[in-house]
């Protein structure tokens, strides 16, 4: 059965005299390399130019707020259980009186940390989440100098009220 049409039959015949000179082969090789000199370059100048990513790209996480700006997360811990890389840790706390505008339900995450060096961006946390709280976004994890800086706390994860992140594409993707 023929799998590809790129297969070449290799023969182990004796080299002819002109082939043993190697010079024609070398000039041929030089021709090939110089033709690459003028070809379009494959490099993408990363920080200035970004390759397009799909809208369902699994990038850095976001902890969602609802329409009234209250945090969805109830610190149930299902994401941490689902996480195969054990990248998520959290501490739960009880909502006090007067904090109803901050947290949607009576329990919330006092701390919520994702270690971005451990995370494999599989998306199981968002599948496990019963409260629509955690989603992966099409943003990238930025480079840091210290390992400690890759452990993202709530200050980096919770979406800003004035800078909401659209996760509709991923929601749609989960419904499929």
């Amino acid at each position: 059965m023929k799998l590809t049409n790129r297969a070449v039959v290799v023969s182990k015949k004796e080299l002819t005299w002109s082939e043993k000179l190697y010079l024609p082969a070398i000039t041929q090789g030089l021709g090939i390399t110089i033709s690459h000199f003028f070809k379009k370059k494959a490099t993408v100048q990363y920080p200035e130019v970004e390759k397009p990513r799909t809208e369902i790209w699994r990038g850095r996480h976001v902890l969602k707020r609802d329409e009234e700006g209250r945090e969805n997360c109830t610190a149930c811990g299902l994401c941490a259980v689902a996480c195969p890389a054990e990248a998520i840790t959290m501490e739960a706390a009880e909502r006090k009186k007067g904090e109803e505008h901050l947290y949607r339900e009576e329990k919330y995450a006092a701390t919520y940390e994702i270690n971005m060096l451990r995370c494999i961006f599989c998306g199981l946390c968002e599948e496990a989440c019963p409260k629509d709280a955690i989603y992966l976004t099409d943003r990238l994890v930025s480079p840091e100098y210290e390992r400690q800086d890759f452990i993202y706390g709530k200050n980096k994860l919770v979406e800003k009220i004035d800078d909401r992140i659209d996760i509709e594409p991923r929601k749609k993707y989960h419904k499929l």
Binding site: G29, L30, I34, H36, K41, A42, T43
Partner: protein, 341 residues
């Protein structure tokens, strides 16, 4: 006016010294750019416009690195190795004629540091001294890989020097002189030696690659087998010297190829233009460097085209193919000169 030649030569030496170093520095940049372009990449472009400050950044980096001298090494020889290698690389440029003489207020300034009548011998001699730099460096490191690299380098250079020397003899027979300025003058117009000595040129070119330890003859420092070869134990600017001297060697080899086979500063038709002497002189220098830069590019082009030789193939090529071929070339040239011309 006895002091005039002294100043003239000192200035010329200084210019050529700085020029060699500058060209060597920018060869490292060019190498990376050429390598990148041949591999569909862009290459260094962050330091300065088009990455033009990259050699300076590399140099600063080299100086900032920690200087490590192995405690079991012979410290004097360890230091001497890169010095010899660098010195011989720079010394070779002394006999190369860079252009036609300049006329400065009636004084003829010869654009050649030393027009000695045994120029070719001088070059072959200094080139072979360069092996000692590698040998001493590799041996003094007290490291198996360094020693293996040094042994490889020296055996390779010695084997290819023979064929190289013999391939030059054809040129010497035609030009009837050992002085490089005479050889270049003899190639006026389009009487370039490449036309009369194609085989000699090919052998010389291959040997020049081998002498410079460049791919496909870079067995002395092949990363896959010997870590870094003779400079495994070197760090900081001593390593920089070794790498740098290699590029100086490449520049000088290219200049030599141009002198011996490609008419040096001559270019067909330029003499008929009847230019004033100084302008003609400057143009001749430009032509010389254009040719030299082409060969530096050719060195790099070859490097990214042909894979490295195996050691037995290298020795077979040197002793069984190039040496007989170069002897044949000498005999054929001599016969042609005696019976045909």
């Amino acid at each position: 006016m006895e002091w005039l030649p002294l100043i003239d030569k000192s200035v010329l030496i200084l210019i050529i010294f700085l020029l060699s170093l500058g060209i060597a520095a920018y060869s490292t940049y060019a190498e990376r750019k050429v390598a990148a372009f041949l591999q569909d990449r862009i290459g260094p472009n962050r330091a300065g416009p088009f990455g033009l400050l990259q050699p300076i950044a590399d140099g600063v980096k080299m100086f900032m690195k920690e200087e490590i001298i192995p405690s079991a090494s012979d410290k004097f020889l360890f230091m001497l190795g890169p010095c010899i290698f660098m010195m011989t690389a720079l010394m070779t440029s002394a006999v190369i004629p860079w252009g036609k003489p300049l006329d400065i207020g009636g004084y003829q300034m010869n654009l050649q540091v030393a027009d000695i009548n045994i120029g070719v011998l001088y070059i072959v001699a200094t080139a072979s001294v360069g092996v000692y730099g590698i040998m001493l460096g590799g041996w003094a490191s007290n490291n198996k890989f360094s020693l293996l690299g040094a042994v490889r380098a020296s055996s390779q250079m010695i084997s290819y020097e023979l064929a190289m020397g013999l391939s030059i003899i054809g040129v010497l027979l035609i030009s009837n002189s050992l002085s490089l300025s005479d050889i270049v003058k003899g190639q006026e117009g389009f009487h370039w030696n490449i036309i009369y000595q194609p085989l000699g040129f090919l052998i010389f070119l291959i040997c020049a690659f081998a002498e410079c330890n460049r791919a496909p003859f870079d067995l002395a420092e092949c990363e896959t087998e010997l870590v870094g070869g003779y400079h495994t134990e070197y760090s900081s600017m001593k390593l920089g010297m070794f790498l740098f001297a290699e590029y100086v060697n490449m520049f000088i080899s290219s200049a030599l190829i141009v002198c011996l086979f490609f008419g040096g500063y001559n270019f067909p038709g330029i003499d008929n233009l009847d230019l004033p002497q100084n302008i003609a002189s400057i143009i001749s220098v430009v032509i010389f460097f254009a040719k030299t830069f082409f060969f530096i590019f050719f060195f790099m082009w070859i490097r990214w085209t042909i894979p490295r030789f195996r050691y037995d193939q290298l020795m077979k090529l040197g002793w069984q193919i190039l040496l007989p071929l170069s002897i044949f070339n000498v005999v054929a040239t001599a016969a042609w000169l005696t019976f045909v011309k």
